[in-house]
């Protein structure tokens, strides 16, 4: 299943955040969206996931989601959004309960995604007992549990420290290499974008428009932090963004 944005524009009352965005999201690859703060990248993601309605243009779902997919468009949030009163397995079963799966099947899904995210021994832990990195792995496990057609990741690593971020990037690469998934990954961190993105879309400052689309052909598992080619891409992206970011930074939020 692919996604397509056609001439999408959006405004919050008087504040125009996105203008004329047309974009194809091809299956089986990770598309990164980068841009200066306030450029509407998270809004774009919420439009893609149906959490907001665009004022102009259309967001289209091309083709049917694959069989067995419980929630085609699935988010991973920056603040993890785990229910603090449910254990790790309780948080996973939350998203399965409404589907009325046979008990054994739900149990099998939970065991499988916990194993894939290396969380099996923390099944009965409460979120407050987990580190930030583990919480985000639970959130990723929860997203995998509903076998999404497209994963929508909203700055998933931004609340984590630098070391944890590196480890989780490795985890994401390993997950994708084992079973390629479609993902839209919003970040303001260019290192994350060049590490995880097959295609990187650069948005301009508010109102966000597509400034540039960069493809990186290097396979994900061959990318290493600090490799010359990634450095080159990252530098180029930063040169595209620097002036926009500076201008965005000097704007008043309420405009």
């Amino acid at each position: 299943m692919d996604l397509s944005l056609q001439g999408v524009g959006h405004a919050y009352s008087d504040l125009e955040v996105l203008r004329d965005i047309s974009l194809e999201i091809p299956g089986g690859r990770i598309l990164c969206i980068v841009g200066p703060s306030g450029c509407g990248k998270s809004t774009l993601l919420r439009l893609l996931g149906g959490l907001e309605k665009p004022d102009r243009g259309r967001v289209l779902q091309l083709g049917a989601p694959p069989a067995g997919c419980l929630n085609p468009l699935t988010f991973v949030f920056q603040d993890f959004a785990l229910l603090p009163w449910r254990t790790v397995e309780g948080n996973l079963s939350l998203v399965l309960e409404d589907h009325r799966l046979p008990k054994a099947e739900a149990e099998q899904i939970i065991a499988d995604v916990l194993a894939r995210t290396r969380l099996s021994e923390f099944r009965t832990a409460l979120p407050r007992q987990l580190s930030g990195g583990m919480k985000q792995r639970v959130a990723i496990a929860r997203a995998l549990a509903v076998t999404p057609a497209v994963m929508l990741l909203d700055e998933p690593l931004s609340a984590l420290d630098a070391q944890t971020r590196e480890l989780l990037m490795d985890d994401l690469v390993a997950l994708w290499t084992r079973a390629p998934f479609t993902a839209v990954y919003v970040t303001h961190n260019l290192a994350e974008a060049v590490r995880l993105g097959h295609r990187i879309v650069v948005l301009s400052r508010r109102p966000g428009r597509i400034a540039e689309v960069v493809d990186i052909d290097l396979p994900l598992d061959a990318r290493e932090t600090g490799s010359a080619e990634l450095e080159r891409h990252q530098k180029r992206l930063w040169s595209l963004m620097r002036d926009e970011a500076r201008a965005a930074d000097a704007e008043l939020v309420d405009g």
Partner: protein
């Protein structure tokens, strides 16, 4: 180390400015305050420093309580009181939580009911007792109604405040995973609002005890309120204080029960 010697007299530890603002549990202190006050009263009444017309001797009050217990009349008064309290509070808290959740979730309910609740909250419910007697009769139903009405408003206010404070991020998460409306309310909104609802419960149940006594002062033969009223009109201070002691114990018991409920239901908060 060399610096230490160089500055000589000007060297001192950095003054400590942190700490405090974090009360922790101190076992037995609450009990000690009670015991000290009772002993003071006992000593005062025995030495004649407090006249028996002002305050009965605590040991006499205790004797009255023991007599009440052994003669079986304690249950005669306690059972109707507790059942009135239970029925009234269950109705009031139940309706209050339901109404509070609705106010928290629906714009029209909020717009329509918040001003009404604000208008009802400050009305002393005791003043409405005669009205309730006309509406519901002099028997049990008017007592249930008074207690229910009195617990309803604080529960509503606590509940909708708690629902307002539920993390919207968690609700968006529920929507993004395609949870049904009812699942979101049951699994995200209600547990998220539980801390606020329970602390509201402490207040509403204390109000319920106050109203229980008020209700029993009108047209009740049995019940703690009737017992206190009777003792008061005869100036039987021992009995009066025995009744008051039962009410206080009831309050402590209810507060303890809510504390236990918090420990079980809010274990996730630590």
């Amino acid at each position: 180390m060399a610096d230490l010697a160089r500055h000589g007299a000007a060297t001192r530890p950095v003054p400590f400015r942190g700490g405090g603002f974090a009360p922790s549990a101190r076992r037995g202190v609450g009990l000690a305050v009670f015991v000290a006050l009772i002993l003071l009263a006992e000593w005062g009444t025995r030495s004649g420093w407090i006249s028996p017309l002002t305050l009965p001797r605590p040991s006499d009050v205790l004797a009255t309580l023991v007599d009440l217990w052994t003669s079986g009349r304690l249950w005669e008064h306690l059972v109707p009181s507790l059942s009135r309290l239970a029925v009234g509070a269950v109705i009031g808290v139940g309706l209050g939580v339901a109404t509070g959740v609705m106010i928290g979730l629906f714009s029209y309910v909020r717009a329509g009911l918040v001003p009404l609740v604000a208008a009802l909250f400050p009305v002393p419910k005791i003043a409405l007792l005669p009205l309730f007697v006309i509406w519901f009769g002099i028997d049990e139903s008017s007592k249930y109604a008074l207690i229910a009405f009195g617990t309803f408003t604080p529960t509503v206010v606590a509940t909708y405040g708690a629902v307002d404070n539920v993390d919207r991020g968690l609700i968006r998460m529920g929507q993004s995973f395609g949870l049904s409306w009812w699942s979101i309310v049951r699994k995200i909104v209600l547990p998220g609002a539980m801390p606020g609802i329970l602390s509201g419960l402490r207040i509403s149940l204390a109000i319920a005890i106050i109203l229980l006594v008020a209700a029993e002062m009108l047209g009740a033969q049995h019940g703690i309120g009737a017992y206190i009223l009777q003792a008061g009109s005869l100036y039987d201070l021992e009995k009066l204080f025995a009744g008051v002691t039962i009410l206080s114990l009831l309050g402590v018991l209810i507060s303890f029960a809510v504390g236990q409920a918090e420990r079980v239901l809010l274990r996730w908060r630590r």
